[in-house]
């Protein structure tokens, strides 16, 4: 028997490995399949700006229609006006403000807490793509005569279904951000040392988790009722009433929570000193979040139909929430004012945006207190819509402050500083011009959305023209800011990646500094024993 021995051929020295790692995707595949928090964050931000265009255009149409107090028909008829108004409100908040916040948080929060990634990156990506598709369907439903007050029954249902999907996507993205802050902080960074933007993102996510699912649940009821009834929720007419509580106080403050964190991160950097009382600032932001929870303040439900009434107006909780929310905002303002006083101020564009946002938020809270005082009879007048605008535009200015501050990280280069400063000043002017006339016309009896004014017609119309002018200024500011963002995003990366000398980990270079306080990069630059240390906080 012969045995044939076979020998394996000698292995080549450069044999390809049996399991080669997959080549990283490039181009569109890299975007579609990404789990990178920076890419997902940028996608949220860019998509939000597209929605801002929708919100801006519809807002301008509504504003022009409101100038004439005699009734509808100047630009839009009654049905179209109601749908346009609804689209303006939905697009401005759930398609623009919250997505922009989530985009900024998805990008910045992991870096601030020293994590390489956002928690559940695939879920974060799924949230973005769900939101994108749902946004497209939602806008298409309006085109097909759907949305609140829509005439086409199926298109109305399409709107409700896509709106639920938008809410689910925002909730999922919020879970990812909250889990990042809670579970992925770098060792040494206790929750008490969390940077304030990350902390405010956590607080926002917590309030979102308790608010948006409530809205989604109600929308689900609206969907079933509309599709198989309607039995008790007033068909397409009732849809808006079931959403509108999200833009009234106290829920409207939800959109402004991150503003406090952004401002509190920017002010110490611009003042080139440390924020004292970091934990008190955290407490103030947390308390503001507590008073921003307003799912309890929605119109009641009636078994026999009707949109329900605002039963909470005039009740103790409404007064309490409306007034107490001022306290944490004032406390934080005091801390930031003290920081500015102690530091050596550098008037940067992020600081200008941030201070504008904080001022407008305080104005919105003051306006809200006026609305809550029942004898003034301002509920469902234009003073109430002015409060909503104050707070939402404050959130807009605050998010622009954040984008201007973190532009070197997000877009690779800072925004053009001079132009950004000019836009910030214009933004402040536009906000005052948009809102203050509405507060005054509210005292003159102008209704919330649209309706005839019987007294002081000329004065109210003049005020409405001023308000529209303010809205147009804000649209121009937003367009200008978008141009700055696009210029920064498409330009060459800057050489100075920390032009502000930031305090927190997103500005750190490798290796990460030791975390001995809430401002580790400031510590690394100035020493942990620098004049204002953690001991003071």
């Amino acid at each position: 028997m012969t045995v044939t021995e076979t020998q394996a051929p000698p292995a080549a020295e450069t044999t390809a490995p049996a399991f080669a790692p997959p080549r990283p995707a490039t181009g569109l595949a890299a975007v579609l399949g990404t789990g990178d928090h920076r890419t997902i964050g940028r996608l949220w931000i860019y998509t939000a700006f597209v929605s801002l265009v929708v919100a801006g255009v519809t807002g301008a149409l509504v504003g022009v229609e409101k100038v004439d107090t005699g009734g509808l028909g100047d630009v839009l008829d009654a049905d179209i006006f109601a749908q346009t108004y609804s689209l303006h409100a939905v697009a401005g908040t759930f398609l623009f403000l919250l997505p922009l916040l989530i985009g900024l948080a998805t990008y910045v929060v992991p870096m601030q807490v020293g994590s390489a990634t956002v928690a559940f990156p695939r879920a974060a990506a799924a949230a973005y793509w769900t939101h994108l598709v749902a946004t497209g369907v939602l806008l298409a439903s309006f085109v097909a005569d759907g949305g609140p007050f829509g005439g086409d029954s199926e298109a109305v249902e399409l709107f409700v279904a896509s709106f639920i999907a938008v809410l689910v996507a925002l909730t999922l993205a919020s879970i990812c951000i909250a889990a990042t802050v809670l579970a992925l902080r770098v060792p040494g960074m206790g929750l008490h040392r969390t940077p304030l933007f990350s902390w405010s993102s956590l607080v926002t996510a917590a309030v979102v988790l308790l608010t948006l699912p409530v809205l989604a649940g109600v929308m689900l009821l609206v969907y079933v009722d509309h599709r198989y009834g309607p039995t008790f929720l007033d068909g397409s007419e009732g849809v808006f009433a079931r959403i509108a509580w999200a833009w009234a106080q106290p829920s409207v403050y939800l959109f402004a929570i991150p503003v406090l964190g952004i401002v509190a991160d920017i002010v110490p950097v611009s003042a080139r000193t440390r924020l004292t009382k970091h934990r008190i600032a955290m407490g103030a932001i947390g308390a503001f979040g507590l008073f921003a929870f307003g799912a309890w303040a929605m119109p009641g439900f009636s078994p026999t139909g009707g949109a329900g009434t605002l039963e909470y107006v005039g009740e103790v909780p409404f007064y309490a929430f409306s007034i107490l929310v001022l306290l944490p905002a004032l406390a934080l303002t005091g801390l930031l004012g003290d920081t500015l006083r102690r530091g050596s101020l550098s008037l940067t564009s992020p600081l200008l945006w941030a201070l504008s946002a904080l001022l407008m938020l305080l104005a919105g809270i003051a306006n809200g207190i006026l609305v809550a005082i029942e004898p003034l009879d301002l509920v469902e007048t234009s003073a109430q819509s002015a409060q909503t605008h104050y707070v939402l535009v404050a959130a807009l200015l605050g998010l622009f402050a954040g984008l201007a501050h973190w532009a070197p990280r997000v877009f690779g280069t800072p925004l053009a500083e001079g132009a950004s400063k000019g836009l910030a000043a214009l933004g402040l002017l536009g906000t005052v011009l948009l809102c203050l006339p509405d507060v005054i016309s509210g005292f003159l009896g102008q209704p919330f959305r649209l309706g005839e004014v019987t007294d002081d017609v000329d004065a109210v119309e003049a005020l409405n023209i001023a308000s529209v002018a303010g809205g147009i200024v804000l649209v121009l500011v937003a367009v200008g800011f978008l141009a700055l963002v696009l210029k920064a995003a498409t330009g060459r990366a800057g050489t100075d990646d920390d032009p502000w000398e930031g305090h927190t980990l997103e500005w750190a270079t490798s290796p990460l500094p030791a975390i001995t306080s809430e401002a580790p990069v400031y510590d690394a630059r100035h020493g942990a024993g620098s004049p204002t240390t953690e001991a003071q906080s």
Binding site: A183, L212, P213, V214, T231
Partner: protein
């Protein structure tokens, strides 16, 4: 004469656990934290619909003085009770899965998770049977607010159960793939947490809707 120095031979001593420095504190576990957050959102979601249900029912009873359910409609007790018992049993099996996973007893962990999934499916089947029995149409001209509310509440809970079952199955598959060890049953615990919340919510539905009617 050169002297050679030799390193002392390390003595092999038994490990004294009380002399070992404690391990650095671990961060809360990501999947467990995510599951807890998702549970909060789910409670808010189903809680809102339940709140509307109870509010509308209370107003109906106060205003009309009539029975809440329309004439001819009924909610039989047996399917709802059996559903509750089924889910109560699943609480034991899901905890059994976590416990077995922690003891590296993979066979029992798989068995317990499989049983939990079966019990969850049984619960859905019983609810589907209940829907065929309660004479509350959701089509045609006889649709009532009661039907809208009942179908929405129970349909939403079925969706939650389906989500929890997918979560459990995923964790079962990951366990089979060896991703969880005796020291790390985080995925199983996270899925179990969501399951507990799902069962707790059904308890409210069972008593507040199916029993009290």
């Amino acid at each position: 004469m050169a002297t050679a120095t030799t390193a002392p031979t390390p003595e092999r001593l038994p490990l004294q656990l009380d002399q070992v420095a404690p391990a650095p504190a671990r961060r809360p576990r990501v999947v467990l934290v995510g599951s807890a957050l998702a549970s909060v959102a789910s409670i808010a979601l189903l809680g809102s619909v339940l709140a509307v249900y109870f509010s509308v029912r209370a107003d109906w009873l106060a205003e009309s003085g009539e029975a809440w359910l329309p004439m001819g409609a009924t909610i039989p007790l047996s399917p709802g009770n059996m559903s509750m018992v089924t889910l109560a049993m699943s609480l034991v099996t899901v905890q059994w899965a976590v416990w077995s996973g922690g003891r590296r007893d993979r066979a029992h962990a798989y068995l317990a998770l499989g049983l939990t999934v079966v019990l969850g499916i049984a619960h859905v089947v019983q609810l589907a049977y209940l829907w065929t029995q309660w004479e509350l149409p959701l089509n045609g001209s006889e649709v009532t607010a009661q039907a809208v509310l009942l179908f929405t509440v129970l349909g939403l809970h079925v969706a939650m159960v389906a989500g929890a079952l997918i979560f459990l199955t995923l964790m079962l598959l990951r366990s089979l793939g060896g991703q969880f060890t005796g020291r790390d049953v985080e995925g199983l615990s996270a899925a179990a947490l969501y399951w507990y919340v799902t069962v707790a919510l059904f308890t409210v539905i069972w008593y507040g809707i199916l029993i009290v009617k």
